[in-house]
Subunit: 189 residues, 2 copies
Amino acid sequence: MKYPNGKKTETKTVRNASTSRRGMSLEADINTTNEDYLRMDVAVIHKKPTPITIVKTDYPKRELAKITEAYFKIPSTTDYNGIYKGRYIDFEAKECHSKTSFPFSSIHPHQIRHLDAVERHGAIAFLIIRMSHYEKDYLIDARTFIDYYDSRQRKSLSYEWIKENGHEIAYKYQRPCDYLNVIDKVYGL
Amino acid sequence: MKYPNGKKTETKTVRNASTSRRGMSLEADINTTNEDYLRMDVAVIHKKPTPITIVKTDYPKRELAKITEAYFKIPSTTDYNGIYKGRYIDFEAKECHSKTSFPFSSIHPHQIRHLDAVERHGAIAFLIIRMSHYEKDYLIDARTFIDYYDSRQRKSLSYEWIKENGHEIAYKYQRPCDYLNVIDKVYGL
C-alpha cells in the first residue's frame, strides 16, 4: 500500500536531546500518544492488560487481594485496540533491534490470525515496528503484511521491504508515535 | 431505545436442566458466546485480561517467569470489545443479585466515562446486565443508560426500568448470551 498522493510523511532527521526517542520504549511512546489522543478527544485507544493466569491469591485485608502466584499467558489478540472516526482500530507494536530485518518469529501466530480476522471484518489493522537502530517507527498495513507472510518468500521483513511498504510515523513531543496522522493518509480517513 | 418494529426478542420461559443458565456465570456465558462468534466468523470480540500491577517476578527457569507479587487494578475501560459488521463494539457485563434494582455503584465511574467516549466516537456501546434471580439477561444501550445516570433521578436502575428500556437477550445452547442477535435489531445492523 502506498499513499494515494505519493507523498511520504514528513520526518525530522535532526533531533535535539529533549525530543529524541532514545531511551524511551515503543510501548511508553504509544501509551503517551494514546493518552494525548484521549485527552484531546481524538480517539479512544488503549493497550490491553498483559494476560496472566492467576494460581494463588492471598487476602490479608478484605479490600486488598494480593496475587502470590501467577504466570504470563501467550496473548490471543494484539496489544492495542479502540475506536477512531467511527472505525475499529487494532494493532500490534514491536521493537526491532536488528539493523537489517524484522523476523516473523517476533509475532505470535495467534496475533497474525487475529489481525487477519479483524481486517476481514472491517478493521483498520496494522503493525507498528520500531527499527531501534535508526530511531524510526513504521506503520505496516496488516493485509500487506499478511499477504507477504503467507507467500513464505522469507522468514522476515527486510529493512528495505519495511521502508518500501511501510509508512514512517512522525515524532512529536506530545505524540511521540503519532500513528493516527499516518492512518488519515494511508486509509483516507 | 425501543425496537424500531416494536418487537421484543423471543425468550424461552421453560428451560430444561441441560439448557438452564443456572450455575453458569455471565462471564463464562459471554466467553462461550464469543468463542462461537469467532469460530463461525461472525465477529471478533474478546474479553480483556484483568488489569494487574506486577510487583515481583521470579525466574526459576529461563522460559518460565513466575509472578510472585501482584495486585488488581481498577479497570480504566470496559471488559469487552471487538468488531462486528465493520462496527466497533464495546460493553461491560454485570451480574445483579438483587430482585429489584441494579445499583450504579456496581460500575466504576471510569467505565461509564469510557462507554460515553466510545459511543461519541461511533461505537455500538452497551451494558449487559444479568438479573440472576429471574435468569434473564438484558442489553442496555450506553447512551440510554448514561442519560438516565446523568439525570441523577436515582442511584440505581429499577428492574422495571431495565425491562422497559433494556432488550432481553435470548439463550441458545451454542450462544448462551446471544447479544449480537439483539444488536442487529436494536441498532439496525
